[in-house]
Every structure is written in C-alpha cells, then in structure tokens.
C-alpha cells in the first residue's frame, strides 16, 4: 500500500529536484508519443529542449527569443499570482492584455506622425490604464454588487476580442493600408517603437518591465504590509477581516494591479514584437500566464523560471514541428504532458511517499 505522509516542512531538496524529475518523466512519456507518431524520439526531445539553447545554427537567434516570448507571460503571471494568493480570481487577463494594447496604440496613433520622445511613455501609461480600467469592471461589480469576478473577467475577454476586431477593421485601421485590416506598424515608427534595446539579446522594454514587476512583487509580498494582507486574506479570510483588512481593498488592488500589468504586456507587444493591432492580435498569453503563475507556485521567482520554461517549449516545439514534421497538435499534447508532470511531482515537496500500512503511532 502506497500512501502519502505530509512533511512538517516542505522539502528544499525536492522543491529543486521536482522540476528536473518532471522534465525527465515528460521526456520519457513524450518520447513514447513521438515514437508512436513515427518520429525519432531522441531527435524530437533534443530539438525541443536543446536546440533553441545550444544548437549552433539556431541558438544565437532562439535564445533571445526566449525573453521575447517569456516576458509577457511573466509580466501577466506576476500580477495574477498576487490575486490568486488573495483568492481573487482574475481569469480575464487576456482581455486586459487586448485592451491595454488598444488604448496604448490608440493614444499613440492619435498623435501620428509626431516625432517626440514623449509618445512612447504616454502610450505605456495609456496601456497600463487601459488594462487597469478593464480589470476594474469585475472589481467594481464584485465590491458593489458581489458579482463573481471569475465570470465577469472571463466573459469580458470575448467582449475585448470583439472590440479588437472592430478596431482593427475600423477606428485604428491604417489609413494608408489600402483598406486592409490592421493598424499602422508601430514598431516602424520611432516615436512609438519598442525596439530591441541591445542587439541580439531580445531585451526590450517589456522584458525590463517584467523584471521590475517581479522585483516589486517580491518586495511587496515579503516586506510590505499590503503583501502580508494579501497572503492573510488568501490563507485565512476571516482572520484578515478581524485584523482590519478590507476585502474590497484587496480585490480592487489585486485586480487593478494584474489588469495594469496585463495591459502593459499588451502595449509592449503591440509596439514591439507584434508591431501592430490586427484582428488576431492576442495569442493566448493571458490564459497561458495562469498556468505559468501556478507552475511558479505563485512565487515571483518561480514565475520567472516557469515563464522561461514555457517559452522554451513553444520555441523548441516550433523547431521540432517544422524540422521533424511533427504535427503542431503533438507539440501541444507534449506541453500538456509536461505541465501534468510538473504539477504531479510537486507533491514530493510537501509529502513523503510511504510504503506499507499506516505506521503504528
């Protein structure tokens, strides 16, 4: 009989070892799947995990791309994790991401073609405000009318997608684009561009913002009363109330902050890597970030690692997909497996596996 016994303290050893164990298990299970699909499993695994980082042909390009792909995930997940710790369920970061991009790009495009250095900072502020405002809708409905924030934030994603489509073919459409959908390319307009800051590193303002957010969240959680209140509200809501923590303030703070960060992520994406508002501008960062937040155990540093790992599987998955002719679906399933294993072995940190019947007391 196998059973689990709760550890008195989480095991430090296992908390470092489990991610590697999970990757090893995924390599085994994923390898079996790739073999079943008729692909050389060794080549597939190597292409996913090794080539983006070390292959002489790709690594110089792919390594910086990890930052580009991970930055929005980390930025959004950092904000979400604060809320999740407090029991505030913002599932709609995808919508806040879209709105941040729309408001930021909108402010910028309104000033086109001015060439002043002030435009980009202005857009950053507008993007953050846009995401914040979109998140304030569930926050206010929650605090005023007790409306469930999961439902409101989730449904507002679809509303935001509709807005995005109508903006891409309407208001924000490039007037010089011959009637085609999509806005002007912001990355080609110096005043609004979010370029690679140091050539060949992938570093752009979004990466810097992500790092800043992680540091801020870390300090907030460990050194600040608000961070303490957030943790208390999540672990013992009743005790928090007795301690004079206003649940409404926590809701407004957490939703607002995660919305603003998601909005920022959208803004940095639209001015940099994506370059323009288009009908399908959003690619699911807001949802993937929820996974990243939990994989990182809601800890700012964990989120950084989780974000980078997710980014690696995306980029390595793309390489594997076209080089080895693996269906994109198999890559998706592989990512799913990796997540399953990461989540499953996490248990070893907090529990001990015991064989045999319950030990006599």
């Amino acid at each position: 009989m196998i059973r689990l016994e709760k550890r008195k303290e989480p095991s430090t050893l296992w908390s470092y070892a489990t991610p590697f164990l999970a990757v090893a298990l995924t390599v085994l299970a994923g390898g079996l799947m790739f073999a079943a699909l008729g692909t050389d499993p060794v080549a597939a695994i190597r292409t996913i995990f090794y080539d983006p980082l070390f292959d002489p042909q790709y690594a110089a390009y792919s390594r910086p791309q990890l930052l580009v792909k991970a930055a929005p995930l980390i930025l959004i997940a950092t904000g979400l994790a604060l809320g999740f710790r407090a029991g505030v369920w913002n599932i709609g970061a995808e919508g806040q991401y879209i709105i941040g991009a729309l408001t930021g790009a909108g402010v910028g495009l309104a000033l086109y073609p001015a060439e002043t250095r002030l435009i980009f900072p202005l857009m950053v502020v507008a993007g953050a405000l846009g995401g914040w405002a979109w998140a304030m809708i569930p926050a206010i409905l929650k605090t005023r009318f007790n409306t469930n924030e999961i439902l409101v934030s989730l449904l507002l994603v679809y509303v935001a997608e509709n807005l995005l489509a109508s903006m891409a073919v309407g208001r924000l459409r490039n007037p010089e684009g011959g009637g085609f959908p999509g806005s002007r390319n912001l990355s080609q307009w110096d005043a609004a561009a979010n370029p690679e800051l140091v050539a060949g590193t992938g570093l752009h303002w979004g990466v810097i913002a992500a790092i800043a957010a992680v540091i801020y969240a870390y300090i907030l959680l460990n050194r600040h009363l608000m961070g303490f209140n957030i943790r208390l509200t999540g672990q013992a809501p009743r005790a928090a109330r007795f301690a004079g923590v206003s649940p409404n303030r926590i809701v407004v703070f957490c939703l607002g902050l995660s919305g603003a960060l998601a909005g920022l992520a959208g803004l940095f994406e639209v001015t940099g890597p994506a370059g323009q508002i288009s009908i399908d501008f959003n690619v699911g960062y807001g949802f993937t970030a929820i996974i990243v937040a939990f994989l990182g155990r809601l800890h700012p540093l964990g989120i950084v690692l989780a974000g980078l790992l997710m980014a690696l599987t995306y980029i390595g998955g793309e390489l594997a997909s076209f080089m080895l002719n693996i269906p994109a679906a198999a890559i998706q399933a592989f990512q799913g497996m990796l997540l399953f294993f990461l989540l499953a072995v996490d248990m070893l940190t907090n529990f001990r596996i015991r064989l045999g019947r319950e030990a006599p007391a």
């Binding site: 689990l4 709760k6 699909l37 999740f84 409905l141 005023r144 009318f145 007790n146 409306t147 469930n148 999961i150 439902l151 409101v152 989730l154 449904l155 507002l156 679809y158 509303v159 509709n162 807005l163 489509a165 109508s166 949802f287 929820i290 996974i291 939990f294 994989l295 269906p327 994109a328 679906a329 198999a330 890559i331 998706q332 399933a333 592989f334 990512q335 799913g336 497996m337 997540l339 399953f340 989540l343 499953a344 072995v345 996490d346 248990m347 907090n350 529990f351 319950e358």
Partner: protein
C-alpha cells in the same frame, strides 16, 4: 423590430444552440458541488467531440457515438482526477493543462476524420404532436439529446437535493474534513463526480460534432467550454440556474444572428458582444439583489484534500 423573426423557430434554435453548453455546465456543476474546480471543460469537450465522431463514423450509430464521446470525456477527466486527488496537484493549473492536452490530443486522434459526414441524428417522432402550433416545434421537435439534457437537469436537481448520495456529494464539497470525519469517502466521491463531469462535457462535445455542426475539425469547440464554466458561476451552482444561463446565452447568440439576418439596424459590433454583456448584466442584477442564497459556491471549492489519518 422583431417583426420577421419567428419566436417559435427562435426558441427551437436556441434550445439546440444551448444544448452543448447545458450538458457541459451540468457536468461541471456536479464536479464543483463536490468541491473540485476543473477548468479543463474545453479540453474534455473537444475530446468528446472527436471520440463521439469517430465512434459514430466507425459504427454507423450516433447513439454509440454519444456513448463514445461520454467515455472519452470521462477518460480524460480521470487524468485530472488522478492528478488532483491522488497527487494533490493544483486544480486550476491542472485544469488548464487538461485543456491544452485535450486540444492537442483531439487533433492527433482526428487526423483521419476531416471532411467526413457523420451518421445523422434525427428528431424524435412524436406523431401528430409535432404538428401543434408552437409546442410542436419547441416541445416535440428535437433530437433525443436535447431531451436528455433537460432530463439531466431535473435528474441532477433531484440528485443533489433529494438523494442520499447527493447529500454526501454536497457534504464533501462543503467541508471535506468534516465529511471525512463522518466516514464519507471523500476521494472516491470526488473522482466519481469528476468522471461524471467529464462524461457530460464529452456528451456536449459529441453533440457539437454529431448534431450541431456536424463535422469534425480541429479546435471546433472554439470556446464553448469556457462559456460552460461561466454559466455554472452564473447559475450560483443550481441546476435550474444552469438551464436558465445556458438558454439565455444560447438565446442571445441566436437572437443576435437573427437580428442581423433580419437586417435590423443595430451596429454589428454591439450585437456580437451582446451575449457576453447580457449574461454579465443579468448576473449583476441577480447578485445585487442576492442574499446569501446567491453565493452558492461550495465552501471547499478548489481546495486540496489530504486525509491526515
């Protein structure tokens, strides 16, 4: 302004449109009542869609197809069940991973099924009753799955409110520690609920691929599972509310397309947002009026259970 839209056909159409959402949301309701939050509805639905489709095509029987869809959904949900109940993984993240995995797996399974027509699921024959005005089409004009979904709504209501097993399930969801202390089998109950939820989501998915569309294409659920999740919250965890929510959402979706088709001069952008906005608005009204009754979330929803002794 509704002049040319026939209410009869509208109601009949919304019932069909809402059925996949209703089925999936009912399943999720039971799961959540047991204290488990499974965000993988979309993944289970699409697995149900391809399993149902494949079985129906291979056997030529839509009924077998629906059974296959339910089984497929349940099988996938057990991955979630094992992970969250035995390995105590985080439910939110595991559910999201389940969606990712389900979408990928379904495309792999479905590679040979693109561009095929499944065997047809016809309307049930109620004889002369089907010729009645209004009721003939709305009440007696559907395929069996629509009736199944309605029966399931009543059945789940009865189960949760009136049956002993339902009481156990709710007890487990409200406080797993207390339930465990009373000698109730928390894990087994939750696993059963998870499998049931998976089967319902699978049925909903199969309804999409076998009746509503009917066809297999990758990613064909396009977000229905998420709506189902929202509807459970909307319903404040009550079966009747799920029915109302699913029909409201399906109704507004169908109505907005009908308004467009009838050439009503409302900007299309607003029309296409309307199902989401109206659902939110209705929930705000309900929760603003609400007493404690509207806060029906099971107390231990999403929390891990580990028996210390």
């Amino acid at each position: 302004m509704f002049g040319t839209i026939s209410p009869t056909l509208l109601v009949a159409a919304l019932m069909v449109a809402a059925t996949p959402i209703l089925l999936a949301a009912l399943g999720e309701l039971v799961v959540e009542k047991a204290g488990v939050l499974n965000l993988g509805v979309e993944g289970m639905m699409i697995i149900g869609a391809i399993c149902g489709f494949a079985v129906a095509v291979e056997t030529g029987s839509p009924v077998a197809g629906f059974a296959g869809g339910a089984l497929g959904g349940a099988a996938l949900s057990l991955v979630f069940g094992v992970l969250t109940q035995f390995l105590l993984s985080n439910q939110v993240a595991t559910g999201l991973a389940l969606t990712l995995f389900g979408l990928g797996l379904s495309s792999l399974l479905g590679q040979g099924y693109v561009g095929i027509k499944p065997p047809a699921t016809g309307r049930l024959d109620f004889g002369p009753l089907s010729d009645l005005p209004f009721a003939g089409r709305v009440v007696f004009g559907h395929d069996w799955v629509v009736y199944l979904s309605l029966a399931l709504t009543v059945g789940i209501w009865w189960f949760l409110r009136r049956s002993r097993a339902g009481l156990t399930l709710r007890a487990v969801g409200e406080s797993h520690d207390a339930a465990h202390a009373l000698g109730l089998r928390v894990r087994a109950t939750r696993l059963a609920a998870i499998a049931f939820g998976g089967a319902c989501a699978g049925l909903g998915g199969a309804y999409l691929s076998l009746v509503r569309v009917p066809q297999w294409t990758e990613g064909m659920t396009s977000g229905v599972g998420w709506i189902a999740l929202a509807i459970v919250v909307f319903a404040s965890w009550r079966p009747g509310g799920v029915l109302l929510g699913a029909y409201l959402f399906g109704g507004v979706t169908v109505l907005q397309l009908n308004l467009q088709a009838a050439g009503v001069a409302i900007p299309v952008e607003y029309l296409s947002m309307s199902p989401y906005l109206i659902t939110i608005a209705v929930l705000v009204v309900i929760s603003a009026r609400g007493t404690r009754r509207s806060l029906g979330a099971p107390a231990d929803l999403g929390k891990q259970f580990h028996a210390t002794r």
